[in-house]
Symmetry: C2
Amino acid sequence: MSDLVGNMLVAQSGGPTAVINASVAGVIQEAGRHPELIEEIYGGLNGILGILNEEFIDIQEEKRAVIEGLKHTPAAALGTCRYKIDFKKKPERAAQEMERLFQVFQAHNIRYFFYVGGNDSQDTAHKIHEHAVQRGYDMRVIGVPKTIDNDLPHTDHCPGYGSVIKYNATTVMEIAADVVSMATDDGSCCVIEVMGRGAGWIAAGTVLAKRSPNDAPHIILLPEIPFQEEPFLRKVKEFVTTLNHCIVVVGEGLKRPSGEEIGADMSRLDAFGHPVLSGAAERVAEIVSGKLKTKTRTVKLGYAQRSAAHCASETDVEEATACGEAAVRAAVQGKSGFMVKIVRLHSNPYQWTTDVQPLQDIANVEHLIPRDWISEDGFVPNEKFVDYARPLIEGQLHLPMEGGLPKFVVLQKFPVEKKLPPRA
Amino acid sequence: MSDLVGNMLVAQSGGPTAVINASVAGVIQEAGRHPELIEEIYGGLNGILGILNEEFIDIQEEKRAVIEGLKHTPAAALGTCRYKIDFKKKPERAAQEMERLFQVFQAHNIRYFFYVGGNDSQDTAHKIHEHAVQRGYDMRVIGVPKTIDNDLPHTDHCPGYGSVIKYNATTVMEIAADVVSMATDDGSCCVIEVMGRGAGWIAAGTVLAKRSPNDAPHIILLPEIPFQEEPFLRKVKEFVTTLNHCIVVVGEGLKRPSGEEIGADMSRLDAFGHPVLSGAAERVAEIVSGKLKTKTRTVKLGYAQRSAAHCASETDVEEATACGEAAVRAAVQGKSGFMVKIVRLHSNPYQWTTDVQPLQDIANVEHLIPRDWISEDGFVPNEKFVDYARPLIEGQLHLPMEGGLPKFVVLQKFPVEKKLPPRA
């Protein structure tokens, strides 16, 4: 057991999910159970950027019902950022930023720090942990996993993933019902674009919509499998001929054999220097309509999929909450430099628990779909994947409604008084 | 009261909705209450096309639970078509087709015909009614309104509309939560494309997501209001400056002042000779990113919005069912050549009933949003629209689930024996 007494800080980072706030709720509620160690509970606004700017809010001033309501509120209630303390490219600036972070931690006596995020965020948490050790600043740093991409290693899956595939699979089922009922024309192909840059977990998850062999999706284009036009077009033609329609799901990061992303617009780059992807579905549809003269339609779910609380998985919400709670329990037990992970005990019936993994094993490792979880022709995940993914979408989140629309909570955000001069 | 005894046929036409099957269920269930007049209950597959091909199914062979389940099953369970008996462009062929239709009706002693569809479909129903009168073939023809576009005249609104705007408004709220929480960058603009070619009812409906003035959507681009780049860009800049983000909803049929559709790809035309629209959001996003150098994202909901039973409005389902029932009641009362319409008795609390309107008043009239329901600058519907639309999204459809995904029904489709030689 830790005897470290001080204040606690929780922050969110990276792209939001439908359940990232549930993890924050878990952290806050569990922290409240350890008043002997955790004195003040602060939220850091906008991830690491807000911490650098000393933008803290006092969580204990928030209503309990609002904290509970975070469990059904999508996106990042504390605000988030895509900001990397980049020791590789900008070592001097990174060192200054790390110095500033610890000034802020010290000024507010932050002794417990929880960072909820994906790959880059776990890397940041790891660096903060290492610097704390180097400086001899006594602080517990625990990462809480979050990413719809499901690409973190060591955890069975990531909170956020179950909800995005539940929503996407539901959407594929509904679109398929629509396309099937319209199939009096000479065949049609509907291309649905889902998120997922490097890993195809999100695209793969739509296979759950398939209850029988002829059900959609008929083809799933995964970023892991280089896109080959000819076998793809053959497959589309096969389905259009036999079923009069073909539903294709494409992960936004689908690549040509050359490695070039099929939907990449090289003229726009994001904060990490990756190309902004906007057009995988449009490109694939162009190929189909151009080569096969088949009527095409596209759907691009974009942000809708990662924020769809109205179709969130109850299992996912429970796990996200539990990961937040487990992070605090690990910290008060004296652990630091770990990420919480979900451990699957059993698939059917589904049983799981949480454990922790050293952050150094997590940072910047991208977990892809094993090749033997995908059919030989590469066009659809197989039973191994289905057994893995099926339990993650079970149960419906109970979403309070007002006037026929969801009632989300908003934090009141009572600011904590700043103690430092503004950042240079 | 009618004393016409014979068989009944129901068919669906045009683009499906989340609740078009509820209307079919209403027709079938009400027909079952009039066994003294309605002997056999048939479903026509794939709209008018299937009737021409004598493709009927015997509804009485279907399980009762399946008919009830149609009320939560999206898309057209009987199949649908976009096919027009075109007396203007192809008068000879149209006359042949009409002749064939009546051969089919006569062969199966069809005396009650219900056609569930939008504008073009009501036109078809009207022609069939007129031909029946001309031929002295005793038959009751009643149209049942259906269209997400909400552009049929005389009815207060159309079944299908409440569900599409409930889903779209929910999606806008969720995307907005996501974008707000990501707003640490230098401002961003998310453009969400929704359906609606001529009328902006669908785009306008997303205004319901707005609970306070700074809520999304910030700008709604309606096909009724010609798109002017400069005032639009000024408005986007205003929101990005004050809120650090701007959520724009665009109806797919948005037009330039020249009348040209902004997202039109003139190289692809649909069965009615209209250009296939695919790119309104992409075009608008290009304009924003090009002129303002603002980061943009796009979402294109496409077919997902019109088939989203998982987010359907219970009010809409009830009204769709009631319209089907009312059609049968009108027919057994001896009426023919009418469309069922929804009559609003009161907005708050919401009260409605059904009535009928002559089909000749409906066919090919497009009902647009009144100009005085839209703000002076044209960028957002006003309180008049909100009062109108708000009741239509109330209540959640109870959707049976299996393995975390919707459980839709599928008709078994027991074919009725054909009595005619195949169509020439």
